[in-house]
């Protein structure tokens, strides 16, 4: 079932095609772990003095005037009588990187899963691109949800297919059935778009490699490229770096932030690492017992507030 045609073609053309969509960066230097992003602004690995003000100014300039791309209001969800989400509000604007923090079971992942339809909310509303998706059904609902793409902790690539084939699968929702039953039938334009998406995450040179042959960090970047190929305006990342080593985690977080800032996407990431959240988020949201405990820029949120999220019931041991 492997498409030899696609393989040969992508091997012969590892760099982005000349007519790639705008935003495609030049091909990165060849190498196993070429830093994906952002090449212009290396990720700050240390908290620098003065950066706070600088970042606040930047954010003020970007502040969304339009409706948020993703807006969740009063979201409720219970599993077998156990309340997981108890009226959660969350809005993510264009160009904004929001990190959601919270202990296990605080409902972080469930909130994201409710947006893409992997879980059905019991109440509340989800709006994508300013449009309520609770009221629409069938094909319209699928089309509305396609604005949001999910990136998973377990990455969920098709292991036996090439990186490029995996990326192109993000476009299945807008592809006619006759052109989508096997990668060999994917239109040339889609494969070129897929190459540009792979190039955006710095992996154009690995396009023909099987997904299973890539490292964990590379696989997660391929999954992000798949989300880009979906042409989603909202990227939801469910603990995207939980399975990665610190360097790969930094690379993936920097990529997500760059997609928010440079591609003007709305990015919401669920994280378990407060330091990583502080370093990369424009805004932090803390969930505690299914409710929003705090929301604010990293410099506005105190360490004590974050620690309170993880305090075991009945106090610390």
């Amino acid at each position: 079932m492997e498409s030899s045609k696609t393989r040969v073609e992508s091997e012969g053309n590892p760099a982005a095609p000349p007519d790639a969509p705008e935003g495609a960066a030049p091909a990165p230097p060849r190498g196993a772990d070429a830093p994906g992003v952002p090449r212009r602004k290396p990720p700050p690995h240390l908290w620098r003095e003065g950066e706070v003000e600088e970042r606040s100014r930047e954010r003020a300039a970007r502040l969304p005037r339009e409706a948020p791309l993703l807006e969740i209001r009063g979201l409720r969800k219970a599993f077998d009588g156990r309340t997981v989400l108890d009226g959660v509000d969350l809005a993510v604007g264009r160009g904004e990187m929001v990190v959601v923090l919270g202990a296990n079971g605080s409902g972080k992942s469930t909130a994201l899963r409710c947006v893409v339809g992997l879980a059905e909310p019991d109440g509340g509303s989800v709006m994508l691109g300013g449009r309520e998706i609770g009221g629409v059904r069938g094909a319209q609902l699928v089309a509305a949800r396609r604005q949001a793409a999910m990136v998973f902790q377990q990455i969920h690539l098709v292991r036996r297919r090439s990186a490029l084939d995996n990326v192109c699968c993000g476009a299945l929702g807008r592809l006619p059935l006759a052109r989508s039953v096997t990668p060999a039938l994917f239109p040339r334009g889609l494969r070129e778009e897929g190459m540009a998406c792979l190039d955006r995450v710095g992996l154009a040179d690995r396009a023909a490699d099987r997904a299973s042959r890539l490292s964990g960090g590379q696989q997660q970047r391929v999954a992000i490229a798949r989300a880009l190929c979906q042409r989603a305006s909202v990227i939801l990342a469910d603990e995207p770096v939980a399975a990665l080593d610190p360097a790969a985690a930094d690379q993936v977080m920097a990529l997500l932030r760059s997609l928010a800032h440079d591609e003007q996407l709305a990015v919401a990431a669920v994280l378990h690492q407060p330091p990583l959240a502080r370093r990369y988020a424009d805004r932090l949201v803390g969930l505690l017992d299914g409710r929003v405990a705090f929301t604010g820029a990293p410099e506005e949120v105190s360490t004590a507030q974050i620690e309170a999220l993880y305090a075991p019931e009945g106090g610390l041991l």
């Binding site: 699928v142 999910m150 969920h156 690539l157 297919r161 699968c169 299945l172 929702g173 096997t182």
Partner: protein, 277 residues
């Protein structure tokens, strides 16, 4: 390297108590053991197993074998027809296995809990697979012999029908066992059910499907041999004829040819499965 730890410093906590013989779990285990033994005793009696009869009849078996050895290895009269007939057996198995692929594939997708479009379709396709599996290929062969006459063709038809049932079931189980993460990923991207099956399920099950296909081909080579005994051509037919004519030395030649064929098929399919793994 190992650090000596004095017994004084080893802390000990009593483990939870073990289940006693007369606890509910102990009784359940004892009941299951008794029931299994009882079923075997009943089966022993039901099949009239008798070691005495085997000892008494030993002489008959020795006669049979002494007539079979040495095998009749005349090229034109025995060996060449045997090779030709075993090729027919091989062809029967091949067509019976490959022609069952499309229907087995469809039924497997419909009969896997994870890919079925609905409960009704799931139950219906499961029932069809169960029926095809329940009817032995030899019964299918007898039915098709009445339709198309003696020869390898009814054997091919019989294998197709029975193999759809078995391979469909095995494939459905393989589909249910894959990792469903990529399926969720594509579904949230807006892919339809068919697109998901083609792009996430199919690549994941492909190696198992090929492995099971080769295993079924393996089994069908031996099945088509048995079908030959009821008139569906091939080397099975020759074996049956030689037994009827008391030509046990010819029979031994046929069996040796079958042995070679089975070993070759076995090795080839093992090599292919190894490459795929």
């Amino acid at each position: 390297m190992a650090v000596e730890v004095s017994s004084l410093s080893v802390s000990r906590i009593p483990p939870p108590p073990r289940a006693r013989l007369f606890s509910r779990r102990g009784l359940l285990t004892a009941t299951i053991v008794v029931a299994v033994v009882a079923v075997h005793v009943v089966a022993w009696r039901g099949t009239e197993v008798s070691l005495g009869a085997l000892v008494d009849g030993w002489a008959g078996m020795v006669d049979f074998l002494s007539e079979a050895v040495p095998p009749d290895l005349r090229w034109n009269a025995v060996l060449l027809p045997a090779i030709e007939a075993s090729l027919v057996t091989l062809y029967t198995a091949l067509l019976g296995t490959t022609f069952s692929v499309p229907v087995a594939l469809l039924l497997a997708v419909l009969a896997a809990r994870t890919t079925t479009p609905g409960t009704a379709v799931y139950q219906a396709s499961r029932s069809v697979l169960s029926f095809l599996r329940a009817v032995p290929d030899i019964v299918f062969a007898l039915i098709f012999v009445t339709a198309v006459g003696l020869g390898p063709f009814p054997g091919v038809l019989a294998l197709i029908f029975h193999n759809v049932g078995v391979m469909g079931k095995l494939w459905a189980e393989a589909i249910e066992e894959i990792d469903y993460g990529p399926v969720d990923a594509l579904r949230t991207g807006g892919a339809g059910a068919t697109q998901v099956v083609a792009n996430a399920v199919a690549p994941a099950v492909f190696p198992q499907f090929v492995g099971l296909f080769l295993y079924r081909f393996d089994v069908n080579v031996r099945s088509s041999l048995v079908l030959g005994l009821v008139g569906a051509g091939g080397i099975g037919f020759l074996i049956n004829e030689s037994i009827k004519l008391f030509r046990f030395d010819e029979m031994l030649t046929y069996i040796l040819v079958v042995l070679v064929m089975v070993v070759v098929v076995d090795n080839v399919s093992a090599a292919i499965r190894k490459r795929l793994a």
